[in-house]
Every structure is written in structure tokens, then in C-alpha cells.
């Protein structure tokens, strides 16, 4: 287990370094950052001034190492648009996005695990069909559109829920559903196929043969095995949802990282965009690392790979 953990940790560090390099390059590759920072209609001297001031005139690798070194100390630079340290801005917004991501994942699990289990116990019945319909439809619906439809219905017609902002838990209901349903199909399919496989296995037959009660078999023997791959997928999905929160946050005007990213992109506030990309990527790497460990803990066979 220790060797496995170290291996995974090494991989996670390598991926983080690569990701940080990509997010550093992102802004360099897509045009001259000095021109973007100087703003529209800046003169040649102004652009040159920005270039020297921000150090864009030095070799890329030197710039990268300096940037990464500062990032390691929690210094993500300063937003040239707001003249504020980026790290502080991110910290301020982080809570909203994490709340949204975690509640969306919870919503997806609460919906998909029971449905997946039911679909697996009664394959090819109406409950299986409903589960399939939800999963197929969920994959095809644009999440931002789903959010807008909910705003029209629950926010405007019924006046049940607030349509923008992030002040109370009520503000998070619709965004949670809009973001969470997207992860539902993947988790549900996995639970269903995992349960089907486990239920057909020998140890379940033995359990039934020795007369254990069905609920006990289901939860203690079957679900426990079927849930292992779900852990990995749930972590990955949480990472995707945090990345996708940019769309949902802008629909519901939630004051989180995604919204900050969108606003910063619109006003070419590059250091902020860069920092958010890096932040989300690191969270993703961390989540996959943790899920790898949980998986290895639950299923010892994985450790030897």
C-alpha cells in the first residue's frame, strides 16, 4: 500500500507540474500577453512598458519557473484589472464553487445510486426503463438550458425559488440540480452494471442459499462491491463539475470561481484566468489521487498494478 501510495503521489506531482506548465503556456500561446494586458488602443511604448514590467521579455522557461515558484508559496500574482492579489480573490470565491460542486455531486449520488440499484434488481422492467430514460435524457440536455428552464418555471412562474445570487441555501437548489444531473447518467450506469455483475456472482448465490434476508444481501454483500468503481467516477465527476461550473454560475449569477473566470476572461484579466485553470486542475489531480487511494484500500487487487 505504501509503495502504491508513493507511486500515485509521484504521478500526481508530475501531472500537476505538467498542468501548471500548460496553464502557464495557455496565455502565452494564444497571443501576445503584453498587448492583451495593455488594453485596446495602447501605443507601442505602453505595450513595451507592460512587457518589461511583467517580465514578458525574458525567456519563457525563466518566466515559468518564477511563476511556479511563487505559486508554490501561495502567491498567484496580482490582477492587473483590479490591482488585487489573485490568491485572495480565489479564496473569496472558492466557497461558493465548492458548495455548488459538493452539493451537485451529492444530488447526483442520491438520485443515481438508488435508481441504479433498483434498475439492477428489476432489469427490463418499468423502473429500469425510467432509469435508462433519465440517464439518456440527462446526457443530451445542455445544462445551461436546463438551468434557464428551471428559472422560467420555478423562479418566474411559481415564484418558489430565487433566480440569482448565492445568499441562502435556496439560491443553491436550482444550480445544484442543473449541474448535478449531468453526472447522474455516468454514475447510474456504473451502479447498475456493477450491481448486475455482483448479483450474478457466486457469493451472492451462497448468501441466498444459506437463507440470508434479501435486504441484507443487497446492502451488505452486493452494494458494497458494486460501489467501488463509483468512488473513482464520483471523484472524477466532481472535478468535471467544478470545471463546468463556469456555465451554471453565469446562468444563476452565483459569485463563485466560474463566474470570476468568465468575468476575467471577458476583461482579459489573464493572471486570474491562469490561476483558476491551475486551481481547478490541481483540485482534479488531488481528487483522482484520493479516489485512487480509496479504491486501493477497498480493493487490494489494485495495489499490485
Amino acid at each position: 500500500m505504501l509503495i502504491y501510495t508513493l507511486k500515485r503521489l509521484g504521478l500526481a506531482v508530475l501531472v500537476t507540474v505538467s498542468v501548471s506548465f500548460v496553464s502557464f503556456m495557455l496565455i502565452r500561446v494564444s497571443g501576445d500577453p503584453a498587448i492583451a494586458l495593455a488594453g485596446e488602443g495602447a501605443s507601442q511604448e505602453e505595450i513595451e512598458f507592460v512587457r518589461v514590467q511583467y517580465g514578458f521579455d525574458r525567456p519563457l522557461i525563466v518566466q515559468y519557473i518564477e511563476w511556479a515558484g511563487r505559486a508554490l508559496h501561495g502567491d498567484l500574482g496580482e490582477s492587473p484589472y483590479l490591482n488585487q492579489p489573485v490568491a485572495g480573490m480565489l479564496k473569496e470565491r472558492m466557497g461558493v464553487t465548492m458548495t455548488l460542486g459538493v452539493s451537485a455531486l451529492t444530488f447526483a449520488m442520491v438520485l443515481s445510486i438508488p435508481l441504479g440499484v433498483l434498475a439492477a434488481i428489476r432489469p427490463n422492467t418499468w423502473i429500469d426503463r425510467i432509469a435508462l430514460a433519465i440517464s439518456v435524457m440527462g446526457q443530451a440536455m445542455p445544462s445551461f438550458w436546463f438551468g434557464l428552464i428551471m428559472i422560467i418555471f420555478f423562479g418566474v412562474h411559481l415564484r418558489w425559488l430565487p433566480i440569482s445570487g448565492s445568499d441562502t441555501w435556496k439560491h443553491f437548489l436550482m444550480p445544484t440540480v442543473a449541474l448535478g444531473y449531468y453526472a447522474t447518467p455516468a454514475i447510474m450506469r456504473l451502479v447498475r452494471s456493477g450491481m448486475l455483475e455482483v448479483l450474478a456472482s457466486d457469493h451472492i448465490r451462497t448468501a441466498r442459499a444459506k437463507g440470508l434476508r434479501w435486504p441484507k444481501i443487497l446492502f451488505k454483500h452486493a452494494l458494497r462491491n458494486a460501489i467501488i468503481p463509483v468512488v473513482a467516477v464520483a471523484a472524477v465527476q466532481l472535478g468535471f463539475m467544478l470545471g463546468g461550473s463556469i456555465v451554471i454560475e453565469s446562468v444563476f449569477a452565483l459569485n463563485g470561481l466560474g463566474n470570476l473566470a468568465w468575468v476575467s476572461i471577458a476583461r482579459s484579466d489573464l493572471p486570474v484566468v491562469q490561476a483558476i485553470v491551475l486551481m481547478l486542475a490541481i483540485i482534479y489531480v488531488f481528487l483522482t489521487f484520493v479516489s485512487d487511494l480509496i479504491n486501493a484500500f477497498l480493493d487490494p487487487r489494485i495495489r499490485n498494478v
Partner: protein, 305 residues
């Protein structure tokens, strides 16, 4: 009876010839009996026809603005008219015509992104699966790094920096969504490489390229088509999200995502501006996914128990 014709005949010993269906006939039977495959196929076909014959179907010019007829509601409202069956938008453009031309945009973007992604994913997946070892490790690492980057955010940032146009959107999305191709083709190639005839070809001294192109590629065709349909759906949804945030295809192009974005501010009193293009997106992606899922079931019935 010659050996060749007796392949799928079976002597029952009663003097009756029992004819077994050929693999192709079995496949055709499965296709006809698979509801999702047929429904999805018909939906995709209809939208294809709509895209091809857009000029004949659209009753008006999708770009023609006429402020004297702005915001006419669809025909099922009391103020609707058959002249503009789905109403007009806030610039007085016929919504049905924009919708019909919009499916050209969605399909074009979906297909082009998929092609770029397929080329990148196939090269990575094939080399990793075929050579294994260090090559496999490197490719897997690249896939992990790609997955760690938040796709929507990176796409929006790059498009915003370079400037939104259809070409840029296609290139950026194509370069971002190759991960599933790579993952699945890597796994499939690994399986096929171990089969006897591939080893026979290697033993006979065929070049690497020849083995890959003539022995392995034909067997990947199914997987590629299945992933391709799902990726088209994913690319269409991503384009819609980008255009919705104003960082994708630029107005006055009738992109469905852009139409939702333009209708968003007026949706409180005119929900049709948002619902109609959203339903169109939903149907197109749903059709693609049903078709792809169906194809997977039909070609490998083990896919969904």
C-alpha cells in the same frame, strides 16, 4: 454440396436443410429490433436532411431583420401567425428559419471537432495500445494531463484570447475532446494486438505500419464510429455552451447556443426564445447518443447486459 456453401447450413439429419443466418443478417436483425438505434437513427437522419435542404425548408432568410415584425410569438400562441410558425426574435428574424439553418452550424461543428479529435485520439490510442511499455506510459500521462484541465474553461479562455469564429471554435474544441477516443482505442488496440492473426502478421515480417493499418485498424472501426457519435454530441453541447457565454460562434450566425443566449434576456415574457432552440439541441444530441448507444449494443450485445 461444396465446402463454401455449406458454411452456414447444417444437416439436421432429417433431410432438411437448416440455414443459419450469416453474421450480417444477425446484425441486421438486431438493428431492426433495437428501438434506441432506430429512433436515434431516424432523428439524426431527419436533422441531416433538414441541414442539407435548409434553403428549401426555411420559409424566410435567417439573417433578414425587420423591426416591424419583432417578437411575434409562435403559432400556438393567440397572437401567432402561420407566416412565422415559430415566431420572430427581437430583431424581427424568422425563428424557424434561424432554427433550420442553425442545425447546419451544430452539425458542421460537431463533425469537424469529432474529426480532429478522432485523428489525435486515434494516433495516441493506437501507438499506446500497439507499442505498450514506455510509449503507453507517456500517452497515458498525456491523457491524464488533458483530463485534469477543465475543458470548458480552457476552451472559453483560448477562444476569447484569439477571437471567436467558427474555425477557432472547431480547432479548440477538437484539440480538447480527443480523450475518449484515445482511452477507448488504446484499450481496444491492446486487446486486438494479442489476437493470433496480428501476431501471425508480425511473425510473417509485416512492417509496423502495415500491421496497424491492415490488421488492426479494420477492427477498430466499430469502436471509432461509436465514440464518434458520442463525441459529436459532446462537441455540439460544448459549442452551445461556448456560444451561450458569448465566447463561441459570433452573431449573427444562427447557432442554437447563441440563440438561447440572445433570448435569455427576454425569456421572462417570451420563453419560446429559449425553449425552442434548447429543444432542438436536446433532440439532436439525444438522437446522436441513442444512435451511438444502439450501435454499441448491436455490434457487441454484451455492452449492456
Amino acid at each position: 454440396m461444396t465446402q463454401a456453401t455449406s458454411n452456414n447450413k447444417f444437416d439436421s439429419g432429417l433431410g432438411l436443410d437448416v440455414v443459419f443466418p450469416s453474421p450480417r443478417q444477425i446484425m441486421r436483425q438486431r438493428m431492426i429490433h433495437h428501438k434506441g438505434f432506430i429512433v436515434g437513427g431516424v432523428m439524426v437522419l431527419l436533422i441531416f436532411l433538414m441541414a442539407i435542404f435548409a434553403p428549401a425548408i426555411a420559409p424566410h432568410d435567417p439573417f433578414h431583420q425587420d423591426l416591424s415584425i419583432r417578437m411575434i410569438p409562435p403559432v400556438w400562441n393567440e397572437n401567432g401567425t402561420w407566416n412565422y410558425p415559430l415566431g420572430t426574435d427581437n430583431l424581427g428574424r424568422d425563428y424557424l428559419s434561424r432554427l433550420v439553418y442553425g442545425c447546419r452550424i451544430s452539425l458542421l461543428i460537431g463533425f469537424s471537432c469529432m474529426m480532429i479529435a478522432a485523428v489525435i485520439g486515434a494516433i495516441l490510442g493506437l501507438t499506446a495500445g500497439y507499442f505498450g511499455g514506455t510509449v503507453d506510459m507517456v500517452v497515458s500521462f498525456i491523457i491524464t494531463v488533458r483530463l485534469a484541465l477543465p475543458a470548458v474553461l480552457v476552451a472559453i479562455a483560448v477562444v476569447a484570447l484569439i477571437g471567436g469564429s467558427m474555425k477557432i471554435v472547431i480547432l479548440v474544441l477538437g484539440c480538447l475532446i480527443w480523450d475518449r477516443f484515445a482511452v477507448i482505442l488504446r484499450a481496444t488496440t491492446k486487446q486486438i494486438r494479442a489476437i493470433d492473426y496480428v501476431q501471425a502478421a508480425q511473425a510473417a515480417g509485416c512492417s509496423v505500419l502495415r500491421v496497424i493499418v491492415l490488421e488492426i485498424m479494420p477492427n477498430l472501426f466499430n469502436s471509432i464510429v461509436i465514440v464518434a457519435t458520442l463525441e459529436i454530441g459532446r462537441a455540439i453541447l460544448l459549442e452551445a455552451a461556448l456560444s451561450f457565454l458569448g465566447m463561441g460562434v459570433q452573431p449573427p450566425t444562427p447557432s442554437w447556443g447563441l440563440m438561447i443566449s440572445e433570448g435569455k434576456d427576454l425569456m421572462l415574457f417570451n420563453p419560446y426564445l429559449v425553449t425552442i432552440p434548447g429543444v432542438a439541441l436536446f433532440i439532436l444530441v439525444l438522437g446522436m447518443n441513442l444512435f451511438g448507444d444502439g450501435l454499441r449494443d448491436v455490434t457487441s450485445p454484451e455492452g449492456r447486459s
